[in-house]
Symmetry: none
Subunit: 415 residues, 2 copies
């Protein structure tokens, strides 16, 4: 089944608003094993809308969003009537429903609201329980057009109420399965190289997604039969082996922090953070997660050197001898936060995020991350990052969290 | 000038990701008085990409985003070559640049990376200072195609570097002027109500943009003549008066933190933060700004009550009597961080971000923010926020920073 989307509205093209309805419909369709073949976005201009609807007639199903309101720049339905060369007719039950809706809220019914009850002759019209514009479906040649309001919550509700049942009755049954691998530590091309040649089956669709600094690999397969399911399992196991411990989760909803949280809670352990260049980002990422107070105890943003001494007990001689951005000071920060916070783990970051502050020997992007734990040697890692300030900070935060993830995984394997 | 956009990537159609590049390009073009006539989105499928590029040839300028990576599902450039019926050729300077980029970071150069140096014969190729894929422009018939990576930050940078100068040289000159008002403290509909009836001139385009938790109001006017310029100035002055001190900047590039930083640097003052529910977000927002070490000294993320006592000197009796989320404890946190950090200002936040942790008397969304300063009474404000965890945290961070902004502005007016 060839499905396309048309979204309509000046605000989607002039920078006022990013289109989220396409992603919303894409998610819904994927749950039914269906994929969108193309999307078009056009402004509130009759000729542009008609042309987009005409181009979309190459599809079996066209999902249209926006332009159903009561104002003169709402042209979607009348443009469809123009494309079909049929008149607009009033749908009386809709007009009555809109009038009743206005009366029940004490809003005055103004003449322009009657526009929302006009539909192309021959259209099927469905009640909108959450707004005024009705849901309209028309058949034009081989193509069925579905019209939704642009308001995301109304679109979502009407798609659930009317599109899903239609798909269940009309779309070919597909059993589509996916596997996802979330990784940190290698670039997209390095990940692709590791997987080179492993996933050549034409029934398998492989997608890479760079969500800085993570790379996600997903496999999609039409798994209507045992062969398809086996293909997915076999391929997933190849990917697992090839990528090894850069995979931190195989779950679309997991994050690096949620994986760490699960392990910490299971082990009854706690952490604290000591940050210089990341300036609170690591603590913020940890506490983004609801329930983090169970395992995140405190953070110190030791931006100033005096704070590294006063709050973390970093010896002034170390700072004088090696500078704030050094392996030695990073280690002392991690050990200092564990000691002062009395937690199981202490994470530390110090570095030069840029754009200023670099020197010949300590360039922008030089970062140290450290993990201290009770009764174990502190691990310190040097990174030389090539990014801008924002991305250097994000990668540094990931790097120190990944140290903790690896330590927790190793502990789990020992236990 | 007829401009269209083509965005490419499975992730834009299968629900994984909403397209933000179209809105980003739309914003940039509007600043030049130009508008996008249509957008198309297609998956990583050669036939679909070629067809979209072919349809877009009705335009004078086509801005293409995505599909420039090193993997086998990156098909954009080779599809363009197919449409033009020209071969792909290696652009040697790009290949050398990519190799050098990899070498400088110590990444191995894998053969698939060479794909990013292939361009349609006759293309113009421009360096990408922030990534591997070059920016490519090709002329095909009357249409000029511009190719950008799908990564939003790379697209933004390359559009600034190459598209903007091209437009300046080739687009019909329009004198389009804008005024922007960045506000914090009221909802979009409250802001719109304040401005109701003030901006009725048909030559004036008013846009509201909710960038949670800020509302931006922008005025755009075709100011080719003195009348247009006057209209903009008059309208801007009406807006300024109507919105008052919720406007924190009239500059598209300013942020709440950059405004605060400017004032602190001018006054030679420093700050420190004590955060509970925001978990480091305030410190992170401050240190996002390059050069923040001049005025941001330290932050304490006092998630655990024991930390509020140990690091900030909050009296245990206060915690016992009023609880961690209370006016009294927030005040003690702000005064504690000023005293221990020895800064001019201390910012504190404590609250219940949710989803858990609420009670009858202290519901989710109850937040206190406080500002302490040397030799002045500490200001504490209670907020009851209706959002989810993430937005409750963001609004809380803005609220405490806005306390500081207002104090700095008041100090400036006195001086």
């Amino acid at each position: 089944m060839h499905i396309e989307i048309v979204t309509i509205g000046n605000e989607l093209l002039n920078g006022d608003l990013a289109d989220t309805n396409t992603a919303r419909l894409g998610t819904l369709l994927r749950q039914h094993g269906l994929f969108v073949r193309a999307g078009q976005t056009v402004p509130d201009v009759r000729a542009a809308i008609i042309e987009a609807l005409r181009i979309a007639s190459r599809a079996d199903v066209v999902l249209v969003s926006g332009g159903l309101g009561p104002t003169e720049d709402d042209l979607t339905v009348s443009s469809m009537a123009d494309l079909m060369a049929v008149p607009l007719v009033e749908h009386t039950p809709t007009l009555e429903r809109i009038k009743a809706r206005f009366a029940s809220r004490g809003f005055p019914f103004t003449p322009n609201n009657a526009q929302q009850a006009l539909v192309p002759e021959g259209a099927e019209v469905f009640d909108n329980p959450v707004g005024t514009a009705p849901h309209v479906q028309v058949q034009h040649g081989k193509t069925r057009y579905f019209f939704f309001p642009g308001v995301p919550s109304e679109l979502a509700r009407l798609a659930d109420d009317y599109l899903v049942p239609w798909l269940a009755a009309n779309a070919p049954v597909k059993v589509y399965r996916s596997a996802i691998f979330k990784t940190f530590g290698k670039t997209e091309s390095q990940v692709a190289t590791l997987l080179d040649g492993l996933l050549r089956d034409p029934r398998m669709h492989v997608a890479y997604r760079a969500h800085m600094p993570e790379i996600q690999v997903s496999l999609h397969v039409d798994a209507a039969d045992a062969e398809g399911r086996e293909l997915l399992e076999r391929s997933a196991s190849h990917v697992r082996e090839a990528l090894g411990d850069i995979v931190y989760a195989e779950d679309a909803k997991a994050s690096l922090v949620s994986v760490i949280a699960r392990e910490l809670i299971a082990a009854g352990q706690t952490i604290a953070t000591a940050e210089s260049c990341t300036g609170g980002l690591v603590a913020k990422m940890c506490t983004d997660l609801a329930g983090s107070s169970a395992w995140f105890k405190e953070g110190v943003v030791a931006y100033d050197n005096a704070v590294k001494v006063a709050r973390l007990g970093v010896p002034t001689v170390l700072l004088a001898a090696h500078g704030a951005v050094s392996r030695e000071v990073c280690q002392a920060m991690a050990e200092g936060i564990v000691a002062t916070a009395n937690t199981d783990w202490g994470l530390a970051v110090t570095g030069i995020a840029g754009p200023g502050g670099g020197t010949e020997t300590k360039p922008v992007g030089l970062v140290y991350v450290a993990l201290a734990g009770r009764g174990r040697p502190t691990k310190v890692v040097e990174r030389r990052l090539p990014f801008d300030r924002e991305r250097n900070r994000v990668v540094s935060a990931y790097a120190v969290l990944d140290l903790l993830r690896r330590a927790l995984m190793a502990a789990e394997q020992i236990a």
